[in-house]
């Protein structure tokens, strides 16, 4: 009898604890989506077929889409996704596997007619201007997604390499021949 009471008591206590925990520590949204979204490059270019990085992250989390659809993320991004999700890497197609140098859009202000179509297309509001006023790109905000190129009726937008020069330079991976013959090195 006492064993029964102990078990019932335990069940009640644990039930209360679990019920309390499920309210107190309720998880808002799917944390996996956030983690996938953190790996995606946030270019918002839509090359994956989804209208932005977040929707693609949601699709990956739901498990109904391959992880190799993001060319800006490249091989490295795909590998990190595979690592996070614990699935086999899925190779990118040859063209998108090539890492592209970072680019930003540039508006030729002589040709721009001020039609506002490009900044309606910009996913990160990196183009400023107004109707019949010249538009310009905020290079620091531009993700290089190229979404502003197709709507432009006068083709005044070109992609230029992002800030190069000394500030963007990095040390290369050291490459040297290795001596394997110890007699030679002596």
């Amino acid at each position: 009898m006492s064993a029964l009471l102990v078990m019932i008591g335990l069940a009640v206590v644990l039930g209360i604890v679990l019920g309390f925990a499920s309210i107190k520590f309720k998880v808002e949204g799917n944390p996996l989506v956030e983690r996938i979204d953190a790996i995606l490059p946030q270019m918002q270019c839509g090359q994956c077929g989804y209208p932005g990085c977040k929707p693609y992250a949601e699709a990956i989390a739901a498990g109904d889409t391959p992880i190799n659809l993001c060319p800006p993320g490249g091989e490295a991004g795909m590998l990190r996704l595979a690592d996070l999700l614990g699935i086999e890497p899925q190779p990118l197609d040859a063209e998108s596997a090539e890492p592209k140098p970072r680019q930003v859009a540039f508006i030729d202000e002589q040709t721009c007619i001020g039609c506002t179509l490009c900044f309606q297309a910009c996913p990160v509001d990196a183009i400023v201007g107004a109707a019949k006023q010249m538009h310009t790109i905020l290079a620091s905000e531009c993700t290089g997604c190229e979404l502003c190129l197709p709507p432009c009726p006068v083709d005044c937008i070109t992609m230029v390499p992002a800030v190069g020069g000394i500030a963007a330079w990095k040390w290369k991976y050291p490459v040297y021949p290795i001596h394997t013959d110890s007699r030679l090195a002596a």
């Binding site: 946030q42 270019m43 990160v124 040390w171």
Partner: protein, 555 residues
């Protein structure tokens, strides 16, 4: 005698310092053309203030500090700006950078120099003055000094005069010949930060400089501390440990431990800037190595290295030049690069002095590098993680505490270029952090855009609704007149007519085979109709019951 707190590791490479200290400091001749890079310091490059064709005076600001971590750049002599363009500079990338090219007129006309009395100045004002005078750390790191001076209630001010790297003697000669002015500069730095104690650390291989500084420091309370010759005791963290016993925490600033460290040449330029109103337009450069006339020269910033090095008469077998010391310096790919604020030494190299490096062999994990590391790191592990691009692990092993002194590479029996791996890993990590920051920014902006679009949509519908309501209200107000009554009646009549028409149509479509039925058939139809009505009633009752049930459950 102060007790020293030696750091671990360190090496004793051949010093080669005597060659260039046999003669006093000489003034380098004025070149015909000076190339002044706008990026000579850590942080943002200066913004050009002059245009091509402008006449400038000696000491005139030609580049303005851009942002907090930045410093001004000045014309080293009077002349005309002939170009502002990308020119080769001393940088490991070999990439050109934006430079102001000055054609000198040989007149050396100064701007109006305005010495100020720092004792009457607020430290913040003093820092602004130094920023505009282009004062940066001349030990080689060229970090803007006004940023470092932004500290108060300091325990100890350490003056770094160790000059531990082989060949370099410019600080030694500066102290020998201009000790009094160095002391003046220390006073300003002490005033700006309210330092209680000043320690000047000098390696024991510079007895003349020690003596000169000791006599200049008489009555000032500054203490000259002789430290043993050991590379790299001239590194800020290592010197602070050596003199005070305090360790600067990983990733932290020395000021947190109540210490700040300035190079001796930097405090000299602080003195020139404040007490003489002269910005940093020249520096001492040691010309040494495989040359016939090694010596220290006072050189204008922007002097092409090729022209300068000719003064020391390089020997015919000279194979190249290094800017900086042999441990941390940078081989120059091009002799047209200018002397900048960071250039403390130009070494001519030869096969005999700098034999070509032996080909690297695999790491045997002998940990000699760990014994030599002055930053108490595990270089063999850092090498391992950097090589395999395991950057998270490299950071765990405190990659960013590496001062790139080169002790590990120096002692490595496998001749592995270890520092190159650390530099690669560091710049790769910085790059990734930058990318992550950019991605976060893009995400935020994209989310805000979506929110904005949603808001605009709602505003639009609200606006339309308001407009419709307004129109309706307008119609209602106008409805008071007789005309409108008639119109409404006509409308009603029209609707009524339409309903009638629909009814007529429905009647016309009624089943045609029910006109003359037998009594039996009629009875059957009636029965079916009744059943239908019953079923309908039952169904309605059910729905009612369900509804009330739901109502109860929700209540």
């Amino acid at each position: 005698m102060r007790t020293l707190h030696p750091f671990n590791g360190g090496i004793h490479p051949p010093e080669h310092k005597n060659e260039s200290t046999q003669q006093g400091i000489a003034l380098a001749p004025l070149p015909a053309r000076l190339i002044v890079p706008l990026r000579q310091h850590n942080g943002n490059p200066a913004k050009a203030l002059v245009g091509v064709g402008d006449q400038v005076l000696k000491g005139q600001m030609i580049g303005q500090a851009d942002g907090f971590i930045s410093a001004a750049v000045h014309a080293p002599t009077s002349g005309r700006v002939s170009a502002i363009e990308m020119m080769p500079v001393a940088h490991p990338s070999g990439l050109p950078d934006l430079c102001v090219v000055l054609e000198t007129d040989g007149e050396e006309r100064w701007i109006e120099r305005q010495p100020v009395d720092y004792r009457t100045m607020d430290p913040a004002e003093l820092r602004g003055k130094l920023r505009d005078a282009g004062v940066v750390g001349l030990g080689g790191a060229v970090f803007p000094s006004h940023v470092k001076l932004n500290a108060s209630g300091l325990e100890t001010l350490v003056i770094n005069a160790a000059e531990c790297e082989p060949y370099i003697t410019c600080d030694d000669m500066l102290m020998r010949e201009r000790a009094a002015e160095v002391v003046q500069g220390i006073m300003i730095a002490q005033y700006a930060m309210g330092a209680k104690e000043v320690l000047i650390g000098i390696e024991d291989n510079k007895p003349q400089a020690i003596q000169a500084m000791q006599s200049a420091c008489q009555g000032t309370g500054f203490e000259v501390v002789t430290v043993p010759t050991l590379y790299p005791s001239g590194s800020a963290k290592q010197l602070i440990k050596l003199l005070t016993g305090k360790e600067v925490e990983s990733g932290g600033l020395p000021t947190k431990a109540g210490v700040q460290c300035f190079n001796v040449a930097t405090v000299y330029t602080i003195h020139r800037a404040i007490n003489h109103g002269e910005p940093v337009i020249s520096r001492l450069v040691t010309l040494t190595g495989n040359v016939d006339a090694p010596r220290n020269y006072e050189v204008l910033i922007g002097t092409p290295v090729g022209e300068l090095s000719a003064l020391a008469k390089p020997r015919p077998d000279t194979s190249g030049f290094i800017m900086g010391g042999p441990m941390m310096g940078l081989p120059l790919p091009d002799l047209n690069v200018p002397v900048v604020k960071a250039s403390n030494c130009i070494i001519a190299t030869s096969q005999a002095l700098f034999p070509p490096k032996l080909l690297p062999m695999p790491c045997i994990r002998c940990t000699r590098c760990a014994q030599a590391c002055p930053a108490d790191l595990q270089p063999q592990e850092l090498y391992w993680f950097s090589k395999s691009m395991n950057f998270g692990k490299a950071q765990e092993y405190k990659l960013f505490d590496c001062i790139e002194c080169g002790c590990c590479s120096y002692v490595c029996p496998s001749h592995i270029p270890l520092v190159q791996f650390y530099r690669f890993a560091k710049s790769e990590i910085w790059e990734r952090e930058k990318e992550k920051k950019a991605a976060d920014q893009a995400r935020e902006r994209h989310e805000f855009r979506e929110y904005r679009q949603e808001r605009e949509k709602q505003e639009k519908t609200a606006r339309h609704a308001a407009k419709a309501a307004e129109a309706a209200a307008k119609a209602g107000v106008e409805g008071g007149s007789g005309d409108d009554d008639a119109a409404a009646a006509a409308k009603k009549a029209a609707i009524q007519a339409a309903i009638e028409r629909a009814k007529a149509k429905k009647a016309a479509a009624a089943p045609k085979n029910v006109d003359d039925l037998s009594a039996e058939a009629q009875a059957k139809i009636d029965e079916i109709d009744e059943l239908r009505a019953q079923a309908k009633g039952a169904a309605e009752h059910d729905i009612e019951a369900q509804k009330s049930g739901e109502g109860q459950s929700t209540q």
